[in-house]
């Protein structure tokens, strides 16, 4: 069952075309990995899915992206509502310079989903889900920037899921982390998979192979191939994909 259906998507930075004719179905309760060399457009594509590219002046989109059958680029789309349904985790952990509690409570506060005195259970549940609760339950009022980078990234994931999104976009979420923290985040992704539709951009092919169910391969702004991860990494149907995966191209 597809959650997101991308149809003939083109994306432009000014006159420069960054994505050409991308069509892709993204399934719910699965992890979809997007791989490809730097600058191939995979991060740009990811930021199209929650319209974060809207914040960059001079960008333009054609084609459509359907979320549960509704085009998110339709003129009457509520972008705020869209972003509360499609959460995002960034490349570098970016907790706010506020307390751990306030970080997780940020979403429920701005979206007014909970009253101020009903926030504590939401914060606890979100931190439990990312496995951070036991580490931080006694220091919830401490500045989030004092956590380790790995903890910060899990905190950012907790912050994203506190508003109960349907989709979580992850833009190279482990590239700033050490191997152990990376494994922790990957383990977390497998757990979250039961409840969310996850799309992850990664330059690390082993990571794509380890965590994802489906993989899409981007090359120079085009989606070259997409398939079940196992098939993709063992019997890619496209020569370019094979060269990239085996390290002969890119």
């Amino acid at each position: 069952m597809e959650k997101i259906s991308v149809q003939q998507l083109n994306f432009f930075y000014g006159a420069k075309q960054a994505l050409s004719d991308i069509s892709l179905d993204i399934e719910d309760r699965k992890i979809t990995a997007l791989i490809g060399p730097s600058g191939c457009g995979k991060s740009t594509f990811l930021r199209c899915l929650n319209r974060m590219n809207d914040t960059i002046p001079g960008t333009r989109v054609t084609g459509q992206i359907l979320l549960d059958g509704e085009n998110i680029y339709a003129p009457d789309t509520d972008v705020i509502g869209l972003r509360s349904r499609v959460g995002m985790v960034f490349q570098r952990p970016n907790p706010f310079p506020q307390s751990i509690f306030d970080n997780v409570a940020f979403g429920p506060r701005v979206l007014h989903t909970h009253r101020e005195n009903g926030l504590a259970p939401v914060v606890e549940a979100s931190l439990q889900q990312v496995g951070l609760w036991d580490e931080v339950k006694d220091i919830l009022r401490q500045d989030a920037l004092r956590l380790s980078l790995g903890q910060q990234q899990r905190l950012c994931i907790a912050r994203a899921i506190a508003v109960k999104p349907e989709v979580i976009l992850m833009d190279e979420p482990c590239s700033a982390l050490d191997p152990i923290a990376t494994l922790e985040v990957e383990e977390l992704m497998r757990i979250l998979r039961a409840n969310f539709c996850i799309v992850i951009v990664t330059h690390n092919m082993q990571q794509a192979a380890r965590v994802s169910d489906r993989t899409g391969f981007f090359w120079l702004g085009k989606l070259v191939e997409t398939d079940a991860t196992e098939t993709m990494f063992t019997r890619p149907s496209n020569k370019l994909t094979e060269d990239y995966i085996t390290g002969r191209a890119g």
């Binding site: 974060m52 972003r83 960034f90 907790p95 979403g107």
Partner: protein
């Protein structure tokens, strides 16, 4: 050859060092001069007179309290007026205005800081004072409030400029994180960007305050210069006199070496100490901003 390079290096660095230290030295000398000229007050004026409520130098009454409170009242009122305006302007310039408008506004605001205060005082006397008199129905337009309005205007460029820099130093990743959560632009600014820049904004307030308390010409021209104790809230809309205006107005007519002369210097010392502490209060915020800036 290498010997010559060595000597010119040595010479240049020595010159630079002397210039650098002499700047510090001059500040020290100024303070020393102030102390030397103001210190005799201790022997000439009893403390209960000096910290009294009456400033009548011709009757040997040197109570600086009305001047001190006058300065504080005018400065605080100015900051209360300038703070919301300044922060709002900084937020507009940095967060809301489109790029081309920011390019125009930023230098324009910095130009405002360069308007000579006597020109602003002139403007205050001829336009602002009558306006205050008529709209507030007070006997004279030359009031503490008029001075505060003018000082607020003068502190604005400093506050806007420093606060804008502070907002600019907030990493884009914070804004991205907030927007990606479904926060509106306003929520992003109010709940994430402004709190993240609060130390810089505090610095802006302190620097604005330092500018306001030290300002002389404009307040001299518009506050009415009556050395009365501000005892009620109403005093804001009556004439007042600040420490700076007192020094400027009386220094030219006082006999050198007289008690009155020494008292004016003592007021100068007090001003120096006040501004020193205001800047000191801003210092940790400045250092913290640098540290945060480095982490980006």
């Amino acid at each position: 050859m290498s010997q010559r390079t060595h000597w010119s290096e040595f010479f240049i660095s020595a010159v630079i060092r002397v210039i650098g230290f002499s700047t510090i030295g001059f500040v020290g000398l100024i303070f020393f001069f102030l102390l030397q000229q103001g210190a005799p007050v201790l022997g000439e004026v009893p403390l209960n007179n000096f910290f009294g409520a009456q400033w009548y130098p011709t009757y040997n009454l040197y109570g600086i309290l009305p001047l001190l409170l006058g300065s504080m009242m005018v400065t605080l009122a100015a900051i209360v007026l300038a703070l919301p305006l300044g922060v709002a302007t900084a937020v507009f310039v940095r967060e809301i205005a489109p790029g081309w408008a920011r390019e125009i506004l930023k230098p324009l605001i910095e130009v405002l800081a360069g308007i000579p205060s006597v020109v602003l005082g002139f403007f205050g006397m001829t336009l602002l004072a009558p306006f205050v008199r008529e709209t507030l129905h007070v006997p004279t337009g030359l009031t503490a409030f008029t001075g505060a309005l003018l000082l607020a205007y003068m502190a604005l460029p400093t506050i806007v400029s420093v606060a804008e820099d502070a907002l600019d130093a907030v990493p884009k990743s914070y804004r991205d994180a907030a927007l990606a959560m479904g926060a509106t632009q306003w929520q992003t600014i109010w709940r994430v960007v402004v709190p993240a820049a609060r130390s810089g904004i505090l610095t802006a307030i302190m620097l604005g305050m330092g500018r306001a308390i030290g300002e002389t010409m404009a307040v001299l021209m518009v506050t009415g210069n009556a050395a009365r104790m501000p005892t009620t809230l109403n005093s804001l809309f009556l004439p007042a006199r600040t420490m700076t205006a007192t020094i400027a107005a009386e220094m030219g007519e006082v006999a050198q070496g007289s008690t009155h002369y020494h008292v004016l210097f003592a007021i100068g010392i007090l001003l120096f100490v006040l501004t020193f502490f205001i800047n000191l209060a801003a210092a940790p915020a400045i250092f913290e901003k640098r540290r945060r800036g480095g982490l980006r």
